[in-house]
C-alpha cells in the first residue's frame, strides 16, 4: 500500500491542477501521475472540489458591502489610535496585514520547485512547525519572515473579536 501523500506532494498537485507549474515540473508531475494511482485520486479530488466551489460561487448572492464599511471607517480609526500606547503586544503584528497576505500568497504561488519561481523571490520551501509565520517581504531587496508568537496570535484573535 502506498504511503499517504505528504503536504508538499499535495501542494504540487494543487499547483499542477491550477496550471501554476513550469514546463519541466508539469512533465515531472505527469510522470508521477502515470505511475501513482493515489496521486491521480488526489488530483481528481481537486477537480471535484473546483466544480463544487464554482457551483457555490454561482449560487451565492454577494451584496456590495463597501459603502457601509466605508461610512464606518472614520468612527473606527479614532478608538484604535487612542488604544495604541497600551497595545504594545498587538503592535508587533505586521503593519500591513495586506502585505502579509500578499506575501503568503506569494509563497504559495511560488510553488516548491526551483525552476518555477520568479527570480526575485528566495523562499523555496518553508516549515514553521506549529507556529504561525508571515512572509512579510520576498523580493530583490530582502526576504523577511516574521514568526508570530502565541501572544501575537491571541491579540489578533481579540482584534478580530472586537472588530
Amino acid at each position: 500500500m502506498n504511503a499517504p501523500l505528504d503536504e508538499r506532494q499535495i501542494q504540487e498537485l494543487a499547483a499542477y491542477h491550477d496550471g501554476e507549474l513550469g514546463f519541466l515540473a508539469r512533465l515531472r508531475v505527469r510522470r508521477w501521475l502515470s505511475r501513482d494511482p493515489q496521486a491521480r485520486d488526489e488530483l481528481d479530488g481537486f477537480a471535484t472540489l473546483g466544480e463544487l466551489l464554482r457551483e457555490e460561487e454561482s449560487l451565492a448572492v454577494i451584496p456590495d458591502l463597501w459603502p457601509a464599511i466605508e461610512r464606518r471607517l472614520p468612527e473606527r480609526r479614532a478608538p484604535q489610535e487612542a488604544a495604541r500606547p497600551s497595545a504594545w503586544r498587538t503592535g508587533w503584528l505586521p503593519v500591513g496585514g495586506l502585505a502579509a497576505a500578499a506575501a503568503t500568497a506569494l509563497v504559495l504561488a511560488v510553488g516548491l520547485d526551483w525552476g518555477d519561481a520568479p527570480d526575485a523571490s528566495s523562499v523555496r520551501w518553508l516549515d514553521t512547525g506549529n507556529r504561525t509565520a508571515a512572509v512579510l517581504q520576498d523580493d530583490k531587496e530582502a526576504t523577511i519572515i516574521w514568526i508570530l508568537d502565541a501572544d501575537d496570535q491571541a491579540s489578533r484573535r481579540i482584534d478580530r473579536a472586537v472588530s
Binding site: 503592535g91 503584528l93 503593519v95 526551483w114 506549529n130 530582502a142 526576504t143 523577511i144 501575537d152
Partner: protein
C-alpha cells in the same frame, strides 16, 4: 628467459596510458573530488524593542524592517562571519538559546540555495549576495529577536 616483443610492449604501454587518461578524466569530472564552493556568510542578530533608538550598525536593517513591523528601538546584539562550503553546516548560537544553522546546498548564480534552520522554523532559500534573509519575531528581553543571514558581497 623470454622477453616481451617490442610490439607487445608498445601495445601494453598504450593500454596503460589509455587507462591512466580514463582514470584522470573520471576523477576530474567526478563530484566526489570536485572542489566544494565556499561562501562567506554574515549573521547579524538584532534586538527590536518597543522603546529606544536605532543603534549603530542597525540602520540598514531598520530601513527594511520599519516598513513591515512596528517597533522603536533596534540595536545589533552580535555579528558573526562564517565561511561555509557547500554541504557543510554553519552554526551560530542565538541569545535566546536557539541556534541558527545554515547549509549551502548548491551554488546558483551569484549565490546559493541554502537550507536554514532557526528555532522551529526551517526552509530552503535561494540566497544572493547582499540580499538579507531576515527571521524575526522570537520574544526576547521585552522585545523581539531579529536574525539576519546574508552572503557577503
Amino acid at each position: 628467459m623470454l622477453s616481451a616483443r617490442p610490439l607487445d610492449r608498445r601495445r601494453r604501454a598504450l593500454v596503460w596510458t589509455s587507462v591512466l587518461i580514463g582514470v584522470l578524466l573520471f576523477f576530474q569530472s567526478s563530484p566526489v573530488l570536485a572542489e566544494a564552493e565556499t561562501f562567506e556568510f554574515v549573521v547579524t542578530v538584532l534586538h527590536a524593542t518597543p522603546e529606544g533608538v536605532v543603534g549603530k550598525g542597525a540602520g540598514r536593517y531598520d530601513r527594511l524592517l520599519r516598513r513591515q513591523v512596528r517597533y522603536e528601538g533596534l540595536r545589533v546584539v552580535k555579528t558573526k562571519r562564517a565561511t561555509v562550503a557547500t554541504r557543510q553546516i554553519g552554526s551560530v548560537p542565538l541569545p535566546d538559546g536557539d541556534t541558527l544553522r545554515f547549509r549551502p546546498i548548491d551554488p546558483e548564480g551569484p549565490g546559493a540555495l541554502v537550507a536554514v534552520d532557526v528555532g522551529s522554523t526551517q526552509g530552503d532559500f535561494r540566497m544572493t549576495k547582499g540580499k538579507p534573509l531576515i527571521f524575526g519575531g522570537s520574544a526576547w528581553k521585552g522585545g523581539r529577536l531579529v536574525v539576519v543571514l546574508e552572503i557577503a558581497e
